[in-house]
């Protein structure tokens, strides 16, 4: 998805980019310590699982990334500050959604963090590690697998999409306005995983559609509808942004009436030659 083409391992990459960042060194030390502690002291099942699957290193790496990029707002142990909420219990899915879409780290504390180009450190690997770390803090929704976001029934998904999503995101997911500077973003740039994660975690102004509200297979249906419709070639010509009558009205006035006025001017400009009497 992110395709940075960096082949060196993440530690080297990070060190190269922050050679003088003392904080990073401290973070690394702390991260190793914390990771080491997590590995050494099997306290809860999440940590157990992490150890069992050999992901303890990921957690440590994630923690150091967290300290470097997230802690200034979310607190050094993700407890939350006045600038940002606690991340205990938000789950890996929330991290993957926010970071892989560029929303986090936030550029400025406005009403809503917009999707933006990813920072250089944001590789799939780094996101995975960061997510693994946050997951250890208190569980929460996990990152969906490829199978979970594919193979849905688009028609069924369409019905669910219309019932649950379009009142904010518009009928083709083109996005819509919300109050106080917030908005429902355009879904057409979101990856299937991000759509799934958004439903599972309810980022920013969005409500949570957990598995008891929208079942996992229905989430796949919705994703199938969104991806299928956005992949369509508009059969009627230019889609005009697919936002309905506003652009259509604009076109009929700007193109239609202008064209007809020019035609009228051209036709009446052709004066008949005065015939001799």
């Amino acid at each position: 998805m992110i395709g940075t083409g960096i082949s060196v391992n993440s530690i080297t990459a990070r060190r190269r980019r922050h050679p003088l960042a003392r904080l990073a060194v401290v973070a690394l030390a702390l991260g190793l310590l914390g990771g080491g502690y997590a590995a050494a002291a099997p306290s809860d099942s999440t940590a157990d699982a992490a150890v069992a699957s050999g992901k303890a290193d990921d957690v440590a790496e994630g923690r150091s990334l967290f300290v470097a990029h997230c802690a200034s707002c979310h607190g050094l142990s993700a407890e939350g500050t006045s600038m940002g909420p606690t991340l205990v219990g938000v789950g890996a899915a929330a991290v993957d959604f926010q970071v892989s879409s560029g929303r986090m780290p936030a550029a400025d504390p406005s009403a809503q963090a917009p999707r933006k180009p990813l920072g250089e450190w944001v590789t799939p690997e780094a996101v995975r590690q960061l997510a693994a770390y946050v997951q250890t803090l208190g569980g929460g929704p996990t990152i969906p697998t490829k199978e979970m976001v594919s193979g849905g029934d688009a028609a069924k998904g369409g019905e669910l999409f219309r019932a649950n999503c379009i009142q904010c995101h518009n009928f083709v997911g083109a996005g819509g306005a919300l109050t106080y500077g917030k908005y429902a973003p355009d879904l057409n740039e979101s990856t299937p995983e991000q759509i799934y994660e958004a439903m599972a975690t309810g980022p920013q102004a969005m409500p949570v559609f957990n598995d008891s509200v929208v079942k996992p297979e229905n989430k796949a249906d919705i994703i199938a509808y969104i991806t299928q419709v956005r992949g369509q070639v508009d059969p009627g010509g230019f889609g005009l942004g697919r936002i309905g009558p506003v652009t259509e009205g604009l076109v009929v006035w700007v193109a239609g009436i202008s064209f007809m006025s020019l035609a009228a001017i051209w036709i009446t400009a052709k004066k008949r030659k005065r015939t001799s009497k």
Binding site: G158, N170, G244, E248, T268
Partner: protein, 544 residues
Amino acid sequence: MNETPKPIAGTASYLDDRLGAGSFLKRNLRKVFPDHWSFLLGEIALYSFIILLLTGTFLTFWFKPSMGHVEYQGVYEPLKGVMMSEAYASTLHISFEVRGGLLIRQMHHWAALLFVAGMMVHALRVFFTGAYRKPRELNWLIGVLLLTLALAEGLTGYSLPDDLLSGAGLRITEGVAISLPIVGTYITFFLFGGEYPGVDVISRFYTLHILLIPGILLALISAHMVLMWVQKHTQMPGPGRTEHNVVGAPFYPAFMAKAGAYFLFTFACIAGLGTFAQINPIWLFGPYTPADISAGSQPDFYMGFLEGALRLMPAWEINFLGHTLPLSVLIPALVPMGIIMTGLALYPFAEQWITGDRREHHLADRPRNAPVRTSIGMAAVTFYGILWLLGANDEISTHFHIGLYETTIIGRFAIFLGPAIAYWITYRICIGLQRRDQDILSHGVESGVIKRLPHGEYIEVHTPPAEDIAEHMRGKKQIQIVPGDDDKDGIPPKGVRGPIGKLRAKASKFYGTDHVPLDGDGHHDGHADEHAAVGAGDKPRELH
């Protein structure tokens, strides 16, 4: 060779003897039409209407105006197996399976938009040139009626496919109907045949849309054309043009060729839009269920001003003896429509009353020469435009990153301030343009030749304006003012007595006073060189 072949001559005289076609054509084919590009704008609506009739007929062959529930089994994958009304399913069928169906559907919809837009620009032309004045007031009323009916025709039309977007509009229609005091509930139940949405509304709208309203439209358009034909078209002032003649080209062949060409242009415009620009993609909206609603739901553009009014309106309501009067729906639904349509309908009569002008007018006004009318018109356009713009406030908010509430708050101020500002600006522009005309008439136009006078002064030589342009400018006619001054005994003249009469006299003075009178023929010659010697004129120019 010059003789007409017998079969043609025989048939022609047979018909002529029975229908009187020959003399009718002889009388009418040479009918003269004045030439000005803006006189063609109404034809956009006329030709769009013809295209609407043709494409609409095509659509009726496959459209099923029924709210019966069916499972979709057509070719559009993302809706396969979804339950929907037959109306929606048949519209999908037209769009995806009927050959040429989507093109015709899109042309029908674009033609509808162009129809209303054409009526609007035509109405603006008629208004700003004062072409609604006697003897054309009734034709103006027909026009206002046509515009109103076109809105109803549009609403019933875009509701027919029973898609989610139009369903939102239908829901608002129901909300407006039910908000009417006392009769609201009855009207709603009558319209929908019971509780919303019921099972009748699509078939009822269908009858209204394809039979009743187009029938009335057709009759009124015919009446509009016949009246125009009989009363003759107004013309812009110019050389040789008077209140008693029409200068232009005869209907046959010149005007007919132009009108025919203009029909083809209209057709090209609609076919081009239908081919290249997607309109009303109902498959993206999904079938209507009252439970679903989409962000960015907007009506077609001509309903946008009502949508905007609804969005601007504060949530006011009155509860009285257990009855609710929802002002937040009633006011936006009725007041802007009332101001605009009633205002349009009454304007010719109000103007007549204020000016006391009962003369016939066949020469059109240049908008600058009736500054108060033009300014009132621009204020109304601004009022309409702000409402229209605010109907899209959520799209503006999303795409231009302006807060949604900010757009509403700005709109609430702008709807009162905007028309006032537009009035003032337009008035100043009109006066400025009048001064420019007067300047050109009395001092000529700059020739670009600089001349040095014997005593050393440099002047630019002004040349008289081209004769046709000068005539065009000289076509300015005084707006009549009701005599309002008291006579020597201090008694005001008849018609302006009493408080209403005084108001009338005041309004008349305000409406008709010419602040920039043309200088007339006073110094027509003699200032080819000696521009500096020509004063500002004999009459003092009063400006405020």
